[in-house]
């Protein structure tokens, strides 16, 4: 069955493309992923990979010709197939496609690939399973996505329109959302390199200068990058952020950690990290301030029933935020073991979306990079994020007026003012400080 090859958005902002070169001529056979032509977009010349298979029966847009996204540029089918009806249809289709929805959201979208009819499986024994041979075509412009993908996208505030589905006829499926989430996490809202692990190689400056040629380069923005931009902007610009800063004496916490580790010398899991302590202190403080463990949901505020704390962790291609679930009912050692397990999964690229999404609170630390203090962007659906600076020796004036050298750590809490009022945020941070400085208070 003949299918139309449609102009696809080969850059996120492309509305129209110009055929530069046809790599296939009429009569050539076309396999999936073959480069059939090159298309000049508003940004660059891109290769067009075939999604249809068969024989190129007709080129509708010659070299040098333009086509709007969604318009047919060629027909692929069986040799000798009658495509006159389709050609007529193609002429008509060119019109509505030109007025693709959302002028400001350029007709972009791989979902116009949905126009390409899936080859109807032959009725009969050659089809592996019984399939409705005449499944209705999804109307142009309507997003194709699995129910699970839709649910995940909603949960993670991902705009599916910018995704390219890898399922049949461009259907967006679970793995597409997972991929997007991984990449979002890589450039996540904390916009920071995590406390663990090496700096990603991509960040190591090249000797050759900013670009290889020395000239300006235009790097096409991937759909994923666009999501990240959207999510960061959405968080930063829709959630009114304010920041609270407090200087904390981490000496007692570090001493407690030392004592604990001394008791667990042979534990194969290794030493308990300061992050586990921080997560524990934060979760205990959140119990006192459930409003900080909440989410703005437009018409209501969602108060989470559990305390799920994310920690920003560096990985090779960026940053990800594994979540330790149910911290409120876990001890420091258990939190540490779970965290290590999650970080191992990050290293081996096995972290699942369930494991890095849906945090009710996030902690980001740039201590290992030497940063003393910074502000972070809130990681939805949470309403607050804690930015942790380097623990460093500093002179501190004590209550009695004497100056001593202490292990100091600067904490900066970013809050969503729609959910957390300033006084509440301040009280939370103040209590957190007290917990860190006098861990025994946890028991009172």
């Amino acid at each position: 069955m003949a299918e139309q090859v449609l102009m696809l958005a080969l850059s996120p902002t492309m509305e129209e493309g110009t055929i530069v070169t046809w790599h296939k001529k009429e009569g050539d056979s076309v396999a999936q992923s073959d480069i059939i032509c090159e298309v000049e977009t508003d940004k660059a010349t891109m290769e067009y990979e075939a999604v249809n298979e068969g024989t190129l029966l007709k080129i509708l847009v010659a070299e040098g010709g333009k086509a709007k996204v969604g318009e047919p540029i060629a027909v692929v089918g069986e040799p000798g197939e009658d495509i006159s009806g389709m050609l007529k249809e193609a002429e008509q289709k060119a019109e509505p496609a030109a007025q693709a929805p959302g002028a400001s959201e350029p007709a972009a979208s791989p979902e116009s690939a949905a126009l390409q009819v899936e080859a109807a499986p032959a009725a009969g024994p050659t089809g592996a399973a019984v399939t409705t041979p005449s499944a209705p075509q999804v109307p142009a412009g309507q997003l194709k996505a699995s129910p699970l993908a839709r649910k995940m996208a909603t949960e993670h505030s991902i705009d599916m329109r910018v995704l390219r589905g890898s399922g049949p006829a461009g259907r967006i499926v679970k793995r597409d959302i997972e991929k997007a989430l991984r990449q979002v996490a890589s450039y996540g809202p904390a916009a920071a390199v995590g406390v663990q692990g090496p700096i990603a190689p991509a960040f190591i400056p090249s000797a050759a200068g900013p670009t290889a040629s020395g000239k300006d380069e235009r790097i096409p923005v991937s759909g994923i990058r666009k999501i990240i931009a959207q999510r960061l902007a959405e968080s930063k610009f829709s959630a009114p952020h304010y920041y609270l800063r407090i200087d904390v004496d981490a000496g007692e916490m570090m001493a407690a950690r030392q004592r604990l580790n001394a008791r667990l010398p042979k534990d194969p899991a290794g030493k308990v990290s300061p992050n586990a302590f921080l997560i524990k202190f934060v979760s205990e403080t959140l119990k006192k301030y459930p409003v900080v463990n909440s989410s703005w949901q437009t018409d209501e505020i969602l108060r989470f029933g559990k305390i799920d704390i994310a920690l920003a962790v560096a990985q090779e291609d960026g940053l990800i935020t594994p979540v330790v679930r149910g911290c409120g009912s876990k001890g420091i050692v258990q939190i540490d073991r779970e965290l290590k397990n999650l970080i191992d999964k990050v290293r081996s690229n096995k972290l699942t979306p369930e494991e890095y999404s849906g945090a009710t609170f996030t902690i980001s630390s740039l201590g290992t990079s030497g940063i003393l203090e910074f502000t972070a962007i809130i990681n939805p659906p949470g309403s607050a994020i804690l930015a942790v600076g380097r623990i460093h020796k500093a002179p501190v004036v004590g209550d009695d007026g004497t100056i001593g050298v202490r292990s100091q750590m600067m904490l900066t809490l970013s809050c969503d003012h729609r959910v957390i009022d300033g006084a509440v945020g301040a009280a939370f941070l103040s209590d957190l400080k007290a917990f860190i400085e006098y861990p025994i208070d946890l028991l009172y």
Binding site: A123, G124, P125, T126
Partner: protein, 345 residues
């Protein structure tokens, strides 16, 4: 009740003992009897070939052989003119199909499941059909075709045609509701049909005497006021005479009849049945009154046949069997596209 010759000797009712005349137009009695003999031999040789090919796994599934019962189909169908008349039978249908003049090649190809089979490879052993020959199958469900045959008779009556329907079934089917419902309908509507119960004495492995309230099935016809007879199904001439009389009544008076032909199958119910439920002696007894031997003896005696002629006929039938196998071997497998053909018109 004893086994052995039970029932075979009786000729209750109206079946004449020996009054066989040829109905073949322009044919002599000798020619007619030779044709009966030839048909029985053809069935015998065809079935033997079928058994052989089944053993070679060329044929699969249920394959119910007709060996031993040849006189019933051959004698009965010889009373018909298949331009007007019809035949319906159950799953032990090879003999009736051949008696109706169906092509042995197309039948063997059907047993092979090949495209040139009479049912295009879709029916197999139990479902031989040839609409041109007015052979309407070949039904696999015990008793289920009896009302259908009755419906064919309704059409004959409705169209005021001259035909008659022969409906064959076994002793196992006679207790199904469909049999009893059909007989009543045929009687109240005066339909031209002859119900022929081929009592081969075993419904699969069950001796009919164990599961029947009567051993003379003709009584079952009588309970619907349908004339019935129990007669020797091993003698082709007797079968022919009885069926001819019943068919004539159907044609002239539009009255149904019932005939019980007492017969015997030499093989098991199907290829997988070792038939251990009966004795070798019993089988031997029936083989000694083999329908082919009976007719052959009668013809030898009356000088209508000599041994040389018999051998020649037999050789011809064997050749037909071999040719049928060759034809089936050469016939292509049905194309996969055929699956969705013939589901609805």
């Amino acid at each position: 009740m004893g086994k052995g010759k039970a029932g075979v000797t009786s000729a209750a009712g109206t079946a004449p003992e020996k009054k066989t005349t040829s109905k073949t137009p322009g044919g002599s009695e000798k020619a007619f009897r030779t044709e009966l003999l030839r048909q029985m031999l053809l069935i015998r040789r065809f079935e033997e070939k079928s058994a052989q090919m089944y053993g070679l796994r060329k044929i699969g599934g249920f394959c119910h052989l007709y060996i031993g019962q040849e006189a019933v189909a051959v004698g009965a169908v010889a009373a018909l003119d298949l331009k007007d008349d019809y035949v319906l039978t159950a799953y032990r249908d090879h003999g009736h199909a051949l008696a109706c003049g169906m092509d042995p090649k197309a039948m063997m190809a059907e047993l092979y499941g090949r495209q040139a089979g009479c049912s295009r490879g879709k029916g197999g052993s139990m479902h031989m059909f040839d609409v041109d020959k007015h052979m309407l199958g070949g039904n696999g469900i015990v008793g289920a075709h009896i009302p259908v045959a009755t419906g064919v008779a309704l059409k004959i009556k409705y169209k005021k045609e001259n035909g008659v329907v022969l409906c064959f079934f076994g002793d196992g089917a006679i207790h199904q509701g469909s049999f009893h419902e059909s007989l009543n309908l045929a009687k109240i509507w005066n339909l031209p049909i002859v119900y022929i119960c081929e009592n081969n004495q075993y419904g699969m492995g069950t001796d009919f005497r164990r599961v029947s309230s009567v051993t003379d099935f003709s009584k079952m016809g009588l309970s619907y006021d349908i004339p019935g007879s129990q007669m020797d199904g091993m003698d082709v001439l007797k079968v022919h005479a009885a069926v001819k009389e019943a068919a004539d009544r159907a044609r002239k008076e539009h009255q149904p009849s019932f005939i019980e032909a007492v017969t015997y199958r030499y093989k098991g119910h199907s290829m997988s049945d070792p038939a251990t439920y009966r004795t070798k002696e019993e089988l031997g007894e029936y083989k000694s009154q083999d329908p082919i031997l009976i007719l052959k003896a009668q013809m030898l005696k009356s000088k209508q046949l000599n041994n040389e002629e018999f051998d020649k006929i037999d050789a011809g039938c064997k050749r037909i069997g071999n040719e049928a196998v060759q034809f089936a071997e050469d016939s292509p497998q049905p194309a996969i596209e055929m699956l969705y053909e013939d589901v609805v018109v």
